[in-house]
Amino acid sequence: MSNSASAISVRDLWMSFPGKQSGQQIHVLERIDLDVAPGEFVCIVGPSGCGKSTLLNIIGGFLRQTRGEAIVEGKPVTGPDPRRIFVFQENGVFPWLTVRENIGFGLLAKPDAEREKIVAHYTEMVGLGGFESAYPRELSGGMRQRVEIARALAADPHIIYMDEPFGALDFITRLKMRADLVRIWQAEKKTILFVTHDIEEAVQLADRVIIMSRRPATIQQVVPVPLPRPRDLDSPGYLRTRDTIFEAMGMSLRIGESLTSTRAGTPPLPAR
């Protein structure tokens, strides 16, 4: 696969952390190869603790890999960059700033009038009109996550990295946030690399789903999701894709069924 035009290109990437005992190494990622095209929406799924967040943090420039290359927009990653904004699982919205100040955080270099226009635009886009002067502690978890997404978009990055951004939200809010994210992505034409442990979430969002194995994680399978948007969660295509991923991750869809009866060679259900 030619990667000169890739937005993100990861080549033979390895990552290990020093363990508790001296000299011991914990291998987290092994031989990761990955390409993301400009404008593509790619989800990475895998069992909890497999290293998918570590991979995203390396690509985002917050961690340094042990071996191999992470190339973003033609250049090796050396650190975080305002052209690529990270949306954090634990919500990185600044509690001492209002919604308006948070969304405008990356725009300080711009003249006031322009900044205000951009902030107003993205405040509307994420549905926070009327909350401009509110502080994060006055907002729900879902609204805070919208502030962070708007703050990322307002900085006009080429790529947005999202690390389980909806993980702490309730089921209904999560569904709504996904629908809004797809709508925004279609309007803004950003490249999105999205980490989740929720298979349904990945199939609802992504052009392609990358399945990672348990630790030390390798890329186990890449599943394209050639379904039109908006996606029908009852359609045979959706269900088939979802089941493919469930099966690849070694999970049964029938609660109570013995796990040993799933396809031989797949890893067992990860401990919860």
């Binding site: 960059d81 305002p82 954090f88 990185g92 600044f94 001492w96 990356g106 502080y135």
Partner: protein, 256 residues
């Protein structure tokens, strides 16, 4: 129910104060003490101080020394504490020395303060500075060290310079804990001003207590000084607490 509660918040502490005063009065009467004053005598003592113009003069003198000593401690302690919190090597280098200085009571410094500054206002100001600078610096240090890493990473992502990072993220994220440190330090500063005035100067509430004792065993004025110190301490704490209500820092405190 919430209306009842607001009413109780005033009524309960006032009730406790009244019971305390009555018990105090009864205890003095039962013991038939010639020296220890009854509450009303203390109130009359405060009135007498006001009449002579000493009440305002002494309060202002004490507050003046606290303002200077505490103000200097803020100006030195906050930046130094932030510096130690941010540069871990500086923390490794300075922290043991700070921990050695910190447990030395300001009262132990009194002879040194007199030696260096004589019987001037500078001596108590120096003592108040010493008493409050350590809690202020240490609260700023731990605020930086305990900062949520996600704020730092988000800020780095937006490409802030070091100065912007400090001004827009590190300092505001540490502010709630710094204010808590200021509150503790101001309480200590007020404790120390009284001790400092007992030796070094000829005005202030601490001086009032020692002077009233030495010049004619005026225990009504001794206790008047104590009561005034307590009430002003309470007012100072309420004042600093108001800082915690600002929107920029309210997120940092558990809602109450």
């Amino acid at each position: 129910m919430s209306g009842d509660r607001a009413w109780l918040k005033v009524a309960l502490p006032v009730g406790v104060a009244v019971i305390f005063l009555l018990a105090w009065d009864a205890a003095v009467r039962v013991s038939a003490s010639e020296v220890f004053p009854r509450p009303l005598e203390v109130a009359r003592g405060i009135g007498e101080l006001a009449q002579k113009g000493l009440l305002v003069k002494y309060i202002v003198a004490s507050l003046f020394r606290v303002t200077w000593g505490f103000g200097l401690a803020v100006v030195v302690g906050v930046p130094f504490g932030l510096f130690l919190g941010w540069f871990s090597l500086a923390y490794v280098a300075f922290n043991p020395m700070l921990q050695i200085f910190r447990p030395i009571s300001p009262i132990a410094w009194i002879p040194v303060a007199i030696l260096w500054f004589g019987i001037t206002d500078l001596a108590p100001i120096f003592l108040i500075f010493l008493a409050s600078v350590f809690p202020i610096a240490l609260s700023a240090t731990s605020a930086v060290q305990n900062m949520q890493p996600v704020y730092l990473r988000a800020a780095q992502n937006f490409g802030l310079s070091r100065l912007q990072l400090f001004r827009r993220v590190i300092f505001p994220s540490c502010l709630p804990q710094i204010i808590t440190g200021l509150r503790i330090a101001l309480g200590i500063a007020w404790l120390v001003v009284v001790a400092a005035e007992m030796i070094a100067v000829n005005s202030g509430l601490g001086y009032l207590i020692i002077d009233a004792r030495n010049a004619g065993k005026r225990y009504d004025l001794v206790v008047a000084g104590m009561v005034l110190i307590g009430i002003i301490g309470l007012l100072l704490d309420l004042l600093v607490r108001r800082l915690e209500r600002f929107d920029e820092v309210r997120w940092g405190y558990a809602s109450r």
